[in-house]
């Protein structure tokens, strides 16, 4: 895979070698993204999005989810309102405000990406469940009912769990697990099947009193790779970050990249190639790869070393089989004069970095020239119900995007849904959560980075945007994916929902 992916990328990256000084020259970095935004106007402006959402080309499943969850959350008894002002906001939202969902979700979930819209009962009728190749009409109303009842039951179950009524939840789960199939035509049903399974898992681990995960990394990595092949999100993350790193490394001879969760290092060959063939000649590159198992890291290191050798680039690899938030600065073999890039592609498969505040602190100490961050537009903090509703919305969208592209009985799709997406869902619902891990999770990293004096945002350049667009063009239902540039970030989502946001940051003390 690495080799294959490299071929294509070679062609695209060549076109956008930075010929001029990178936009984010240190002095200019503090600006809001005016210059970049101007360039971005040619891409999808936000106004268009708002208009577009009213028409039929929508994320049907997510709309249903929002509709029902809003009602459900409104109906919740006013419990658990300690620090959660989000709840009080929800309770205040009267039915006549046309802004659906914007208020029901913590802003970090949807961000500015999500336009406000009105949902009327006629919209309700227009929603269609089936999604394979534009859908077919037969049996539609039956699917509607079935889908609706499943999701309603699922939500009731979530509420039961959130108030710790495990017995009731278990009973409902018995029903759900018999009714929903992960091989169904309807994405809604598939999503429900996996969510129900995750909640069953949670009921059992609550009963047992243990909630640590047990992960088969090989399977996960394999599914991750499969996902990379059918969906643009990972490539989006890789190539926009690579571009930002490339720009940061302009005219630097000794460079160091720390990848906070390197997995199989799929991202790097493309960057290696471009670094090796850049005008000022290849740098000496050191890479610190972090991950879960030394065995896997060593393997990845070997592959990358071989690749670099073939390119004639001087390369060193340092594996650290620990979490970033659990090491101290002495473990990072950073040499004087090296330009540092820290890269973090966030996912929900497992906890890759450890305690957030420590991760932040170490980043500050290291003072990198660039931090490339790709976040899922999903919050890991908050109460169970918050996470539940947020992830239901998120994964419904994700499942929809796969369903538009792959057949219902495609074993590859099943592999991805089961071994990757379900892993994430399970981790979020059955394992994760502040109450269980005892830590405070930051809601949204880019807000945190922005809030700190030690970091300044580096807007994503138009070259990064161009990269992203090229990637989108590689994928068939390109009309379903939405790429948006704004606030210096790049966001890729499906229809109306943003799923991943890429941003870049630099440290004041960087060399």
């Amino acid at each position: 895979m690495m080799k294959g992916g490299f071929e294509v990328v070679h062609a695209t990256l060549d076109m956008i070698q930075p010929h001029r000084e990178p936009i984010w020259d240190f002095a200019s970095v503090g600006f809001p993204t005016t210059s970049v935004a101007a360039a971005a106007v040619s891409s999808i402006p936000r106004q268009n999005l708002e208009n577009r959402c009213i028409n039929l080309e929508r994320n049907e499943l997510s709309d249903w989810v929002e509709q029902v969850t809003k009602k459900l959350i409104d109906d919740l008894p006013a419990q658990n309102t300690d620090t959660d002002d989000h709840h009080s906001r929800t309770l205040q939202a009267p039915a006549d405000i046309p802004m659906l969902c914007e208020d029901s979700f913590p802003p970090s979930l949807l961000g500015d990406f999500r336009p406000r819209k009105t949902v009327t009962s006629s919209d309700f009728d227009e929603l269609q469940w089936s999604n394979v190749n534009g859908g077919n009409d037969r049996g539609l109303s039956r699917l509607d009912e079935q889908g609706l009842s499943l999701i309603t039951l699922l939500l009731e179950c979530a509420v039961a769990i959130s108030i710790d009524n495990l017995g009731e939840a278990h009973r409902m789960l018995l029903e759900l697990t018999q009714m929903a199939s992960p091989y169904a035509l309807s994405c809604a049903e598939r999503v429900v099947a996996y969510f129900a399974k995750a909640m069953s898992s949670r009921v059992i681990n609550s009963w047992l009193g243990i909630c640590s995960p047990l992960i088969n990394y090989k399977t996960v990595h394999c599914a991750f790779q499969a996902f990379n092949n059918v969906s643009p999100f990972i490539k989006f993350a890789h190539f926009t970050s690579n571009q930002a790193i490339l720009e940061a490394f302009h005219r630097r001879d000794r460079v160091h990249i720390i990848d906070l969760d390197i997995m199989q290092g799929l991202q790097w060959p493309a960057l290696f190639h471009i670094l090796a063939t850049r005008m000022e000649g290849p740098p000496h590159l050191t890479m610190t790869g972090m991950g879960s198992s030394m065995e896997l890291l060593t393997e990845t290191g070997k592959q990358l070393s071989n690749f670099a050798k073939r390119l004639g680039m001087s390369f060193e690899f340092h594996p650290i089989a620990k979490k970033f938030g659990e090491i101290d600065i002495t473990m990072v073999r950073l040499r004087r004069g090296e330009t540092l890039a820290i890269h973090w592609l966030q996912h929900s498969l497992y906890d890759a970095t450890g305690p957030d505040w420590k991760t932040m602190r170490l980043m500050e100490q290291l003072g990198p020239r660039i931090i490339t961050l790709v976040e899922q537009d999903l919050s890991h903090g908050g109460s169970f119900l918050d996470r539940f509703v947020g992830s239901l919305h998120y994964y419904s969208t994700m499942f929809d995007s796969l369903g538009a592209y792959l057949a219902a009985d495609d074993p590859n799709r099943h592999h991805i849904e089961h071994c990757l997406l379900y892993r994430e869902i399970n981790n979020i619902l059955a394992i994760g959560g502040p109450a269980r891990s005892g830590e405070d999770k930051m809601k949204q990293w880019r807000s945190e980075l922005a809030a700190r004096n030690s970091f300044v945002q580096v807007p994503m350049s138009s070259n990064s945007m161009a990269q992203a667009q090229l990637i989108l063009n590689m994928f068939p239902p390109a009309h379903g994916y939405r790429l948006v540039q704004g606030d210096g970030t790049l966001r890729l989502g499906w229809k109306d929902t943003s799923l991943f946001t890429a941003s870049a940051w630099t440290s004041h003390i960087s060399r």
């Binding site: 710790d164 009963w207 088969n216 089961h418």
Partner: protein
């Protein structure tokens, strides 16, 4: 913000007798942090209370479900709650009803053990059965059985063997009566009708009496009685439909044919045989596919059944059953032995299903769920 502190005490209220071990690892907020793994791509967290190392060395390429499940059964028999807890945790993390055979086995057995340990087995079974009845229509169930027969010889093997034996027993007879107590929707009989039609001597007259047991499972006063009534009506519809098709087919084959259906609620051993309309001059065969095991091996019920059969003086009785003794007993070593047998049998079943069906087959899922309920 974090109100959903999964307090063990509230779980205790629902599952009153779950014995929590002394040192509760999660009370201090077990995090998702993990030590570096040993040599496999597999990670576990620290359980200071639990012993060891043997768990860390298994890998995912073997038949891990069997190992873990057997150890769990042993832990239950030994009343080793700490070990039990750890093993159930592993099962919970590793299994899934949508994964490979080991994951599926793990998942269904986990659920079953959970229900057993929380004493909610009966109720859960009823819920599961009623839900599946509600969601599976005649069409889907029939399709499932047909598809299963199409992709796997699992059931047809038994059919063919029985039909062969019956044909032999009926050699030379002209009036035939088959009492059929099966779970396979009369799919056995078209082949037999064909054989009868192609017999060298005159085509005999065949009367087929099918007995359908309604799914109450002998649980008295159940709250699903409403459902049972509803399902009875749908079962009747189903059988009527099947009967029509059989009659049509028989006409096509040129076999004089009569079809009767008897709906019998409750235990099979209580079947009133006089209702079966057996004439003196008929040659009788009794065919039981996959149903006799539902008669529990207590109170001489099975003996009763057999003597009932004997009274009818049939030419032949053909029986197809699972090659397994699935009685798990109550406790101790009996439980472990029974459990082992259960596991063995269901593993074979699941593997066969996995081989036969496509990866993403809904029919297979239905069959697996039925098996899960049985577990």
């Amino acid at each position: 913000m974090d109100e959903e502190d999964f307090s063990a005490s509230s779980s205790k209220q629902y599952y009153p007798y779950y014995p929590h071990p002394q040192s509760h690892p999660s009370a201090t907020g077990t995090t998702t942090t993990t030590p570096t793994s040993i040599h496999h791509a597999f990670e576990t967290s620290e359980f200071s209370t639990f012993s060891p190392a043997r768990d860390l060395t298994f890998d995912f390429s073997g038949k891990w479900a069997t190992d873990i499940l057997l150890e769990t059964a042993t832990a239950i028999a030994d009343r080793n709650s700490g070990r039990f807890q750890q093993l159930m945790w592993m099962l919970n993390e590793l299994s899934s009803p949508y994964g490979d055979t080991d994951q599926k086995l793990g998942s269904y057995f986990l659920q079953a053990l959970f229900n057993r340990m929380t004493d909610s087995g009966e109720r859960c079974y009823r819920t599961l059965a009623s839900v599946s009845e509600k969601t599976c229509s005649f069409e889907t169930t029939r399709k499932m059985v047909l598809k299963f027969q199409e992709v796997s010889p699992w059931t047809t093997f038994g059919h063919v063997a029985c039909n062969g034996a019956i044909m032999e027993a009926f050699e030379g007879e002209s009036k035939l009566h088959i009492i059929d107590i099966s779970s396979t929707y009369c799919t056995q009989w078209p082949t037999l009708l064909e054989s009868l039609a192609t017999r060298t001597d005159e085509t005999p007259h065949l009367k087929l009496t099918t007995i359908v047991a309604t799914k109450n499972g002998g649980v008295p006063g159940s709250s699903t009685s409403g459902t049972a009534a509803g399902s009875l009506a749908s079962v009747q519809d189903i059988m009527k439909e099947i009967g029509n098709r059989m009659e049509k087919f028989a006409r096509l084959m040129g076999v004089p044919f009569k079809f009767n259906v008897i709906h019998h609620g409750g235990d099979l051993c209580e079947l009133d045989l006089s209702k079966l309309d057996i004439k003196e001059d008929e040659a009788l065969a009794i065919n039981c596919v996959g149903t006799l095991h539902s008669i529990r091996a207590v109170d001489n019920r099975r003996d009763m059944m057999i003597s009932n059969f004997k009274k009818l003086q049939p030419r032949i009785i053909t029986v197809v059953e699972e090659e397994a003794d699935l009685d798990v007993g109550v406790d101790g070593m009996e439980f472990v032995k029974g459990f082992q047998e259960c596991l063995r049998w269901f593993r074979v079943y699941f593997e066969a299903l996995d081989e036969s069906f496509a990866r993403t087959s809904n029919e297979r899922l239905m069959l697996e769920r039925a098996a899960g309920r049985a577990i």
